[in-house]
C-alpha cells in the first residue's frame, strides 16, 4: 500500500469516528411544514383525480353521443344520390362544351 493510500485510510478512519449528534425528534416548525406540504399535495392530487374522472365521463358521454348520432343518421348517410343533384350538375358540365 502506498503512503498516500495509507494516509487516505487514516483520514477516513478518523472522519468516521467523528461524533455526530442526531436530534431524536424533528422541531415543531419542521414537522408543521412537512405536514402542511403533504396535505397540500394530497389535496392537489385529489383534485386532479376528481378532474380526471370528470374528463373520463365526458369522453364516454361524447363517444355515446357520437354513436347515437351515427345510428340516427345512418339511413340518410347510406342513401343513394338523388337525381336532383345530377340535374343541378348538368348545366355546369354543359358550359365547358366546345
Amino acid at each position: 500500500m502506498s503512503d498516500s493510500e495509507h494516509d487516505l485510510n487514516r483520514l477516513f478512519q478518523s472522519a468516521a469516528e467523528a461524533p455526530q449528534e442526531l436530534p431524536g425528534v424533528p422541531s415543531h416548525a419542521l414537522e408543521q411544514r412537512i405536514l402542511a406540504r403533504w396535505r397540500n399535495r394530497a389535496e392537489a392530487a385529489e383534485e386532479w383525480f376528481t378532474h380526471l374522472s370528470l374528463y373520463r365521463r365526458a369522453l364516454v358521454a361524447a363517444f355515446a353521443l357520437a354513436l347515437v348520432a351515427l345510428a340516427v343518421y345512418f339511413p340518410v348517410l347510406t342513401q343513394e344520390r338523388a337525381d336532383d343533384v345530377e340535374i343541378i350538375n348538368t348545366p355546369v358540365s354543359l358550359t365547358f362544351l366546345p
Binding site: 487516505l8 477516513f12 472522519a15 468516521a16 467523528a18 431524536g24 419542521l30 411544514r33 405536514l35 399535495r41
Partner: protein, 204 residues
C-alpha cells in the same frame, strides 16, 4: 439490514409500522406525525452524510419526508419501510448534489487551522490521528469529497465513512457491484491526488 437503518431507526415496538403506514395512506395526520418522528433519525443521518454543502439540512429533510408521504401508496411492503425510505433519501440527496454543478478545487488557503494540522499530521506521522482531530478530519474529508462527482462522493461516503459493505451499497443505490467497485476505486484515486497536492503545498 444495513448499518444506517440499524443505527438510526427506533425499535419497532415503539410503533406499529404497518398499521401506521395504512393510517397515513388514509390521510391520518396523527399517524403521519408518529411516522415522521419514527423515521426522522434515519432520514437526518442520510441528509447529514450526503447533502450538498450549500443546501439547508432542514429543506432537504422536508423534501424527503414530503416525497415519502406522497409516495407511500407505492410502498409494497416487500422490504422494510426503513430500507425504502433510506433509498428515497439517498436518491434525493444525490439529485441535490447533481443540481449543484460547481465542484471547487481545494487549495491550502481554503483549510481551517485544524484541517491544516490534520494534513501536517498525516504527512509527518504514520500512526492513527488523535481522537481530538476527528471533527477536523471529517470536515477535511467533506472538502475533499466536494471535489468529486456526486455519484463518486456518495459512494466514498457510504463505503469509507459510513462503513457499508458493497452489497449494502448495492441495496441502497441500486447500482451493480462491478460499477460500485470501479467507481469507488477511481474516486479514491482522485481524492488521493487532491490530498497529495495539499501535502505538497504544506512543504512549499
Amino acid at each position: 439490514m444495513n448499518v444506517l437503518v440499524r443505527e438510526a431507526s427506533l425499535p419497532d415496538e415503539v410503533l406499529n409500522v404497518p398499521d401506521c403506514v395504512a393510517r397515513v395512506r388514509r390521510g391520518d395526520e396523527d399517524a403521519a406525525r408518529s411516522l415522521l418522528t419514527h423515521l426522522f433519525p434515519l432520514v437526518l443521518s442520510v441528509v447529514r452524510g450526503h447533502r450538498p454543502r450549500r443546501m439547508c439540512e432542514e429543506d432537504l429533510t422536508q423534501t424527503i419526508f414530503v416525497k415519502v408521504f406522497t409516495k407511500l401508496n407505492q410502498y409494497s411492503g416487500a422490504v422494510p419501510l426503513e430500507h425504502w425510505v433510506s433509498r428515497i433519501a439517498v436518491n434525493t440527496c444525490l439529485n441535490a448534489l447533481q443540481a449543484e454543478k460547481i465542484r471547487p478545487e481545494l487549495r491550502w488557503a481554503d483549510l481551517t487551522e485544524q484541517e491544516e494540522h490534520v494534513i501536517q499530521t498525516l504527512d509527518t506521522t504514520a500512526g492513527e490521528l488523535e481522537p481530538g482531530q476527528s471533527l477536523a478530519a471529517r470536515d477535511l474529508t467533506d472538502k475533499l469529497l466536494d471535489c468529486l462527482k456526486p455519484n463518486d462522493r456518495l459512494l466514498v461516503n457510504l463505503l469509507h465513512i459510513e462503513g457499508h459493505s458493497v452489497e449494502e451499497v448495492k441495496q441502497i443505490t441500486g447500482w451493480n457491484i462491478s460499477m460500485i467497485k470501479v467507481r469507488a476505486f477511481r474516486a479514491r484515486n482522485r481524492m488521493r491526488k487532491h490530498m497529495e497536492t495539499l501535502m505538497k503545498e504544506t512543504t512549499t
